[in-house]
Symmetry: C2
Subunit: 193 residues, 2 copies
DNA sequence: ACAGTGATGTCGCGTCGTGACATCAGCTGG
DNA sequence: CCAGCTGATGTCACGACGCGACATCACTGT
């Protein structure tokens, strides 16, 4: 097998993000992206299902990583904590600076179609984590709920971290949000210390 | 203001559901739907944003109802229970027989685009319920988590009810799932009785 | 030199969704 | 009864989307 340059995908992604930044997502067409990357429109759609998918190119790999981490986790006797620990353990800086993640987030929030896609990706992560928990021997219903709630907790913490009013660590943020979940559950008592 | 027949919307909806049933969602075009309803394609898109939206025509009204119910709820001191009670209190039979809801569900599950839309609608319901809780004086973070978790619980219960292996009541199903959530939270003890 | 393979280009097509304007029915005041 | 208004629908044109089918070109190993 030849060592293809595989330059197109990266160039397309780069071109798309630039154009989204310059003129917004809606007002950027696949044709424009392809032109800037010096390929055909057809080629664009070979690499990306649709325009939306460019912004979520890493999501699938991210999911795989998280699932892998959870499968390797030392202790899953408390499923919800195992999930949040897994999410907290990931190096989110790999996805770019907080500033750039913030811009990406704003763009997604501003566009219904992008918001849909984001929810799907999060849902898929939750699904994957739930499946991982089941493979670790957790009861199916509990696994699903733990994964869902865990992702929910993370989402809240992540949004707060993105807002960046204070400089709290993402891990700490997750812990804070998680602890507030305890008061939700009937019969729960707040954690000591 | 004239008493318009307003027949088009209902006819379009009817035609669309028939065609989806007959030949699947993907293989049905807006043109076909419009033809069967004896209107123009343009008219179809005046009533529905897109093909997907036909299957979620009632979702917005449903959300409003649920939000209204939660705002009127007697007791929200336990936010999560308030949410699940609200969801359990709704008359889901209004959305059609369990059989027809099951078919609708299968169709959605089989199509990525429809799945996206469904997640969005559920998310909007959770958003609305979270907002309602906030207006009832619940702490914002707790409100968001309670709404999210509540919808999550409901979704699990609903799926199980749809599957219909046993003939358990939806309300009972919700209660069952909810009780299993308790074991998730660190420091929680299971409910007595 | 040759055939094989994978990325890309080319062409054509049906669908999607919308803006702009025309039309037609019914109602409303004179 | 006419004129004018209003809201639903039709008509037309258009750009964007996404994909199937096939051609082409670069590079590979033998």
């Amino acid at each position: 097998m030849p060592r293809w340059e595989h330059g197109s995908e990266e160039r397309l992604k780069q071109a798309a993000l630039e154009l989204f930044q310059e003129q917004g997502f809606e007002d950027t067409s696949a044709v424009q992206i392809a032109e800037r990357a010096r390929v055909t429109t057809r080629t664009f759609f070979r690499y990306f299902r649709d325009k939306e998918e460019v912004l979520f190119a890493d999501a699938d790999a991210l999911k795989e990583t998280l699932v892998h981490d959870l499968l390797q986790a030392a202790d899953v006797s408390e499923p919800l904590r195992a999930v949040t620990r897994t999410l907290a353990g990931f190096d989110w800086g790999r996805l770019g600076s907080r500033e750039s993640q913030h811009r990406r987030n704003a763009m997604i929030a501003a566009n219904p179609r992008l918001l849909e896609r984001e929810l799907v990706k999060q849902h898929q992560v939750a699904d994957g984590l739930g499946d991982a928990l089941r493979r670790r021997g957790i009861d199916p219903d509990v696994a699903e709920l733990a994964a869902g709630a865990g992702v929910q907790v993370f989402r809240t913490a992540y949004q707060r971290w993105l807002a960046g009013d204070d400089d709290t660590d993402l891990t700490t943020m997750i812990e804070t949000v998680l602890s507030s979940l305890a008061v939700l559950v009937p019969g729960a008592r707040s954690r000591p210390g």
